[in-house]
Symmetry: D2
Subunit: 315 residues, 4 copies
């Protein structure tokens, strides 16, 4: 019955993709040999630990996990959550963002480290349910309690954490957006099929003008947002992640917004069935809703776009 | 941490309320003695079985569960779902809507029966998860396979099912709307507290003008929708359920819409925490979202209001 | 053809209403005799001059018109606009807000004066068109060039201007909102009649589900916003303008928003005719659109409501 | 002060563009010599007369202007309006849609004729104001009273009117949309500059998060809608007007919607000035608002898109 979105199936690869990018760009030869290879072969999985439960993590200066130098090690203390994939049975690696120098300039306070998940002091505390759904791979909450990590596992250098995270996020965001658009396309298809298959008050639902408006608006919105995703990808290829900053932020905001509207209306057309597990619509909604928060809430990305736009008109 | 909505706790009483209303208005002395008394004492629970998985049940002529007269019994065959409460350990009673005469006038085809849940042929098949949440009391799918029910348990008379359902739904809808408004008030409070407690880019979130707009719009919308709920209740008291038809339909559409907007923004202000179980926001969202479908989707109620409005301007 | 809103007809009384309120509360015996009487008798008209073209006047500290004490007079220099009624042939009186002390506390810098429109130095420069419409009574731009006004025509005292404006605005806003709701009711009626009278693709427009949704949403929204207006008025009567502050701000924001949505959809149902002068819809739209700016833009009022709401949840 | 949109300046060429297209595709040699040449040289202007005041003209079967064969002439009787350009001093030509056979198949009832504006019986009755604005070139109402036109001036053949109108409308719609997007870009620029230049409560408006959200949403929406316009144009070039049907309908709906949202918010940021003639925002709004009705209301185009989409998922 219905169609197959399997959002959890494709979703789980996202943190690996970003981590692969990081290790490829900033890893040592040893990192590449030990972690990048098996990640590319798919024999191990990894998670990315940036967001913290206690602070608004979209502002990187709020990060509280401390990384204190102690001889040739750093000692990590703090708490992370929404570390997607960390509960996957094959997860072996965490890439962790923390603060090495709270007194440096705002974007030089953070550093990033490669931390094997079995390092003593690392405790995966629990999996966070999202709208009642618990993925097998998990959005994990992880406690770091006096975790000692060799200084050689600091990526690129002290104070480079923010820059690395920026390099990482662009591609990850595009991946999420493409999948999001795909989910919305499937929801639109489901809406059409359902509207054709049910009748109320003597008319197939697909002949009601309000449902036709929803279908048309979905198609109009999806055409636009797909073109924006393509442009953002093309900008990344031709102008680089930094040159594509506005486009990446724009698609990060636009894709979930369009998809949520389409999925919500598809749910409405499905009636009660739409909120159950008989169709993947409610789960898709829950998944896409979290994307308006993951890697920074919409408002942070809009702020970036607005400041860029204001600057353009000042010159 | 956070506040306590316990939507499932209050939600579960709704079907009982409606059933109590039905038994009080249309039950025989025996029904009142055997079912109404323990329901009022709270020693048993009951469920209402109207919606069907195979058809758009908002159009009552689509109902497919058959009630065929056989001597002094009716034989019931069909499938229902979203029978809230049916999995409650104390649930003893079902009130079931079915079709006695498919050839009668559209609103005279349906009848309603009192069916003990342990009647042979009644099978509670499964509990329907809603956005990943499974209530203890359950939104049950129930199969009726040659269920024999004494003809004396037909309420009011053959062909009275639609009229009874109308009598039942008014009060039930108001109850839902009041609880919905209460949830939205709680979400607004949570949004304010959270916005005060977190800081980004040097400012408490509560001082950002976009979040202030959300808070103000929530207050403006809630003031209005509460007044509408009060008016609808007052109309029911003074003009009766029929005279209050437009107001009941209006609040049935308006309350969930306002609440979903408020809860969604509260989630956004909470960041990742908003979609988890650490706050009741995501579950409240899922619950209220189903109210846009329960007892008929928004579109059916809007149709009623529009036809009423058009009629007014024709005279 | 169509119906009669005559927004300009009712609109013109609004500044008089506010000025009558001011003179009644804060005028001297002479003011009452000379100005209040003929205003109440309707033999003269008056305008209120607060907004300035050069600054964001919603923040009273931005007001630039200077009132400088010189012996037993004040000398006024500055420019005002949106002085509604000032071009009415019977307009004799201006009530002018200006700054007497730029170094006082923010809300003690302003004062208010009674200024006959024929005082030397007062020049009504032009009438401001609104969306292409020019009212006979005018939204005037007025230049004050060394205008000498007796100190006895200062209302209440130096530094009282802001407090007087607050006292004045509450009732004025309610009047605007009531008329706005009335216009929206008329637009809804027009939408229904038009939808009934035209046919496309074999169906009266009134039977299309999207137009039915618009009609229903208009009714649902109007019921709510009318109740809010009634509550705001009742609060003003029972708790005073200050106690009703949140309700007044809420209705000031909500009424135009609801009305614009209804009028815009009525225009859409009227086709090309909707934007012409054959129906009063476009003019009503233009008029109501300005209400989202008059007496402060929505954003200023939302800010007030949000700060109030945040305060409630801090205690 | 402000910037220059001059919507009326570019707007006026639109009907000529469409008429040029028609004459080029379907005109006789004589038509090309007599009308097409001077139109291309810009020495004369023309108008297109399709919409009628008495019926919902978006459904072509509603057209009431009769074209009755009488010997080697047709006699035209009826009333048209929104004939843009007809009041231009150089306007010499009308292209008129009418009904030759009310009993033919729905899309074979209409024919199109070339009618010199000085033909006896043609009376330009009045110019229609749009939101209070009256263009010099006019949206004219034209009465046809026993207008005799040679049969040789019927374009392509009897019953070809609908097909010709379809051929004509695609390019015209794209032109409108491109200008609409340009207006919205200008409005966004004006919004940014104004937000930078005014201060309330101690902050430039451009630093308020709600205004920043508006600016960001404008940029996000404009990026998408521009890409859709480019795709629609590319589809017309590569797949033809018919193959581009969905894209043309989509951009016809999307461009005005995006532009209206941006312009409305730009008005809000400009305060009272935004609705006056000191800035071109209100006039741009009025102009773009009519585009949601011109060449068929949004709802007709959405219906087309929805039916197309539903068809795709049936196979």
């Amino acid at each position: 019955m219905g169609f197959h979105l399997a959002p959890e199936a494709c979703n789980c690869s996202a943190p690996d993709t970003g981590n692969i990018e990081i290790l490829d760009l900033f890893g040592t030869d040893e990192h590449r040999e030990k972690w990048l290879k098996p990640l590319l072969q798919g024999t191990i999985r990894s998670a990315f630990a940036m967001t913290e439960p206690a602070v608004a993590s979209s502002d990187a200066t709020n990060i509280e996990l401390r990384m204190v130098r102690d001889g040739d090690h750093y000692v990590l203390n703090g708490r992370k959550w929404f570390a997607t994939n960390a509960m996957h049975p094959n997860c072996r690696l965490l890439i962790v963002m923390g603060k090495t120098d709270p007194h440096a300039a705002p974007h030089r306070q953070q550093s990033m480290m490669v931390v094997p998940i079995d390092t003593p002091g690392v405790a995966v505390v629990r999996s966070l349910p999202v709208f009642g759904y618990t993925d097998r791979e998990g959005h994990a909450e992880i406690l770091f309690d006096d975790v000692r990590v060799p200084a050689t596992d600091l990526l690129k250098g002290e104070g480079e954490g923010f820059a690395i995270s920026q390099a990482r996020l662009g591609p990850g965001r595009i991946h999420h957006c493409m999948r999001t658009i795909g989910m919305a396309e499937r929801a639109l298809e489901a809406m059409c099929r359902r509207a054709d298959s049910r009748t109320t008050f003597g008319l197939p639902i697909s002949e009601r003008a309000n449902v036709q408006d929803w279908i048309a608006e979905a198609r109009i919105d999806l055409e636009q947002v797909r073109l924006l995703a393509l442009k953002a990808a093309w900008m990344m290829d031709t102008a680089g992640n930094k040159g594509a900053r506005t486009e990446i932020a724009a698609i990060k905001v636009a894709a979930p917004q369009v998809a949520l509207k389409v999925i919500d209306r598809a749910i409405q057309v499905h009636g009660g069935a739409g909120v159950t597990a008989d169709f993947p619509l409610a789960q898709a909604y829950a998944h896409v809703r979290t994307l308006r928060l993951a890697d920074g809430p919409d408002e942070v990305h809009k702020r970036t776009i607005a400041r860029q736009e204001l600057r353009r008109h000042r010159s």
